[in-house]
């Protein structure tokens, strides 16, 4: 069975500080990977997607970057946090047929 693990569970960070969030997918070879941001109120905004190691495509510009250093790992980062980065970050994967997407438990980020 496939599992998806996100870390950390929650972060409180200062404005201007760096950030690194991660997720690992086990039990699935070459998944499509996604980062989503969910603001208070619930709307989901797709940030990045990746279909293979080393290749990441940006969907929206939010002063964030993403990398896929390994087949099963997806990293979201920024060198300088803004207040607007606060929210719930969700990593997800889909099979090659992209019929559905499976989410991690999320990381709650509070920027102060």
């Amino acid at each position: 069975a496939q599992t998806i693990h996100q870390w950390p569970v929650a972060e409180i960070k200062a404005v201007g500080s760096p950030l690194s969030l991660g997720c690992t997918i086990k039990g699935k070879s070459s998944p499509n990977l996604y980062w989503y941001w969910q603001a208070t109120g619930g709307t989901l905004q797709q940030l990045f997607y990746s279909i293979t190691v080393g290749q990441v495509e940006s969907v929206v510009q939010l002063n964030l970057s993403a990398s896929r250093p390994k087949d099963d790992q997806f990293i979201l980062s920024t060198e300088k946090l803004l207040l607007s980065h606060s929210g719930f970050y969700l990593c997800a994967w889909s099979p090659q047929g992209y019929t559905e997407v499976f989410f991690g438990k999320g990381t709650r980020l509070t920027v102060v």
């Binding site: 619930g42 709307t43 989901l44 997607y49 997800a92 889909s94 992209y98 019929t99 438990k105």
Partner: protein, 112 residues
């Protein structure tokens, strides 16, 4: 641009009632449709999907959804809800591996 519309932001029913959560989309090509549930503070969980064939699809925990091409809809239904079904429900459209477009969600409250 693909859009997913969930017209009801909030739905409140009593335990044992039936419920229908509405989802309409705008896209002219081949798409995959899916529904997800999000309990407060958690990641999204996949409920069911449709791509082709029988327009009524069954999901977990007694949920089903019906696809209508003429109405561009994919409504979610449950015959008898339980208090534990209280959550936010998201409809999603996928047109390819690049994107899963989500609606704004419908918050379902089940009164015991």
């Amino acid at each position: 641009t693909q859009t997913v519309s969930q017209s009801d932001a909030h739905v409140t029913v009593f335990e044992g009632d039936s419920v229908e959560l509405r989802c309409n989309y705008s896209y002219g090509g081949s798409i995959y449709l899916s529904w997800y549930i999000q309990h407060h503070g958690h990641g999204l969980q996949f409920l069911l999907k449709y791509y082709s064939g029988n327009p009524v699809v069954q999901g977990v925990n007694g949920f089903e959804a019906e696809f209508s091409k003429s109405d561009s809809s994919f409504h979610l239904r449950k015959a008898s809800v339980h208090w534990s079904d209280s959550a936010v429900y998201f409809c999603a459209v996928s047109t390819g591996y690049q994107n899963f477009y989500f609606g704004k969600g419908t918050s379902l409250t089940v009164i015991p």
